[in-house]
């Protein structure tokens, strides 16, 4: 399989396929939530987003795009290169938050329940051979 362009349509399709296959509702702790990752300083000069929505632990929506993302319970903003490092497993998302490389908007109490789930999602995403 050739490397997919990061944040492209085919890459999004692969992300959705692998998340649904690898993360059962049990592994997702049956959580219902949504999050938008907002990528700034992207190579094409635009801002991109990656949006996840899951209900009772089941992935309902995975979206990418350059327009305003759907409203989400959590909004995580950061530099494209920071997200790229997380997607390559070169940087942990929690470390990125704790060092201020990413900014989280949303209720921290609820976000704590999502921390391990977010790590699992990132690990699955990292299995995709992508071109950055």
């Amino acid at each position: 399989m050739t490397a997919l362009t990061y944040l492209s349509g085919p890459w999004r399709d692969e992300v959705e396929k692998r998340l649904k296959a690898d993360l059962s509702p049990e592994k997702m702790n049956f959580i219902s939530s949504s999050m938008s990752n907002i990528y700034t300083n992207c190579p094409d000069g635009k801002n991109h987003f990656l949006f996840f929505q899951f209900e009772a632990g089941i992935f309902k929506t995975v979206l990418t795009g350059t327009q305003e993302p759907p409203k989400a319970e959590f909004r995580i903003t950061g530099d494209y290169q920071v997200f790229a490092k997380i997607s390559r497993s070169e940087l942990g998302s929690q470390k990125a938050l704790m060092t201020g490389k990413l900014k989280l908007k949303g209720n921290m109490i609820k976000a704590l329940k999502l921390a391990s789930v977010a790590d699992r999602i990132n690990k699955v995403v990292a299995t995709i051979d992508a071109q950055y």
Binding site: T77, G78, A96, L97, M98, T99, G100, K101, L102, K103, L104, K105, N107, M108, I109, A111, L112
Partner: protein, 404 residues
């Protein structure tokens, strides 16, 4: 908690009262940081740095250190969507989180924000710091910060029925602590006992009876024995490892908390009986406490009362031993020290001309100290002021007991 619960407090009504005063002062948001404000508004103990944001209308939002935020969300009446934890993470530190919250609601409009600034003898007061002031000023768009703590102070001054009932229950618990101390001291039980042990005995008995906290920042339960009872002008005695000795005076000043209502009562003893001179001091002390309790009522001022009581002490030949103050303020957890509003000749100290009103609660507090004879006594008791009298909430006997 329902309205029929004796400890019920109508918190939405409190918020509405704040919002009405905010409107009168053209304040768009109230940013509370004092412990007293957090207790009075949210009905939950916030031991870590916390803030409450009260908008012009609707539900307040509570922000605390993330390690305690879930517990606070569980205990407060405020719904969980309005309780937030802050943490050292991007976008989640207290300045950015609260500024974002206000900016989102303000939608670019110029806003006037009430803050809590000032000074206090009470270390955990929680006034906004200079750093916080500067950072909030910079992070909240188009804002003007104005000092507005009088809004809360004026609303919290007169206690409602639920608050008074919480104080009554805290005092009932304090009395259980005093009984436990007395039972432990009597019949030679005092031998080998230390001040810290007495503090712990009282604490255990009060906790068993439902107290949440020996709330005073002065070391929890204040126990003083021997010469430590007689510090000049002293009214702060964290317990030490000092062992009791025959002939010691002993001061037992213990604190309980019930639903953020505070118990605070001090009782005094002689270990192994008193000399005639010691008993003379004790009788002076009991006389002035009795007279003070008989004098407190609505319509008088701290100054009036102090003058009368110091005249009594002078006539009795013991004014040299009296600390000339007879009260300190009290409210839900975090509200300690100043009486009334910040309107006296010395900013942030009690106004000596403050006129007491019905249903104010204060701690009737007196310290008698004779350092040269290594003897002293303390009286503290929450009192509710009525039109023609005061109601002492601790019912423990007023005496200086001889312990065999």
């Amino acid at each position: 908690m329902t309205q029929t619960d004796p400890y019920f407090i109508n918190f939405p009504s409190r918020i509405q009262g704040i919002q009405e005063k905010m409107a009168a002062q053209n304040i768009d948001f109230y940013l509370g940081s004092r412990l007293r404000t957090l207790s009075w508004v949210s009905d939950v103990f916030c031991p870590w740095r916390s803030f409450v944001v009260i908008p012009a209308q609707g539900m307040p939002a509570l922000f605390s250190f993330v390690i305690d935020a879930a517990r606070i969300a569980d205990e407060t009446w405020i719904d969980e969507d309005h309780v937030f934890g802050f943490a050292p993470m991007g976008g989640q530190d207290q300045i950015e989180q609260i500024a974002d919250y206000i900016n989102d609601l303000a939608r670019g409009k110029k806003v006037r924000i009430g803050i809590e600034s000032g000074m206090s003898n009470y270390l955990p007061e929680g006034n906004i710091t200079q750093y916080e002031y500067e950072k909030y000023s910079a992070a909240i768009a188009n804002c003007e910060l104005v000092n507005a703590h009088t809004i809360i102070d004026s609303l919290a001054m007169i206690k409602d029925e639920g608050t008074i009932n919480r104080f009554k229950e805290a005092s009932r618990i304090v009395d259980i602590g005093h009984e436990a101390v007395y039972d432990a001291l009597k019949d030679g039980g005092w031998k080998g006992m230390t001040e810290t042990e007495i503090g712990g005995l009282a604490g255990y008995a009060m906790r068993k009876a439902g107290s949440e906290f020996e709330w005073s920042f002065t070391g929890g339960n204040e126990i003083a024995s021997g010469y430590r009872t007689g510090y000049t002008g002293g009214a702060c005695t964290p317990a030490t490892r000092r062992e009791l000795h025959l002939g010691d005076p002993l001061m037992v000043d213990i604190h309980s908390m019930y639903k953020l209502g505070l118990g605070d009562h001090s009782h005094n003893y002689f270990i192994g009986g008193a000399t005639d001179r010691q008993r003379w001091h004790a009788d002076n002390f009991l006389k002035i406490v009795t007279q003070t309790l008989a004098t407190y009522r609505a319509g008088i001022s701290p100054c009036d009362l102090a003058e009368k009581m110091m005249d009594l002490a002078e006539a009795g030949g013991f004014s040299d031993y009296m600390v000339p103050g007879f009260e300190h303020g009290i409210g839900m957890m975090g509200d300690e020290w100043r009486i009334g509003l910040n309107d006296g000749p010395f900013p942030y100290w009690t106004n000596p001309e403050h006129i007491y009103q019905e249903n104010e609660v204060l701690i009737c507090a007196m310290q008698y100290a004779c350092p040269e004879e290594e003897i002293g006594f303390r009286y503290e008791n929450p009192i509710v002021l009525h039109q023609d009298r005061c109601e002492a909430l601790s019912k423990f006997r007023l005496s200086v007991d001889d312990i065999d």
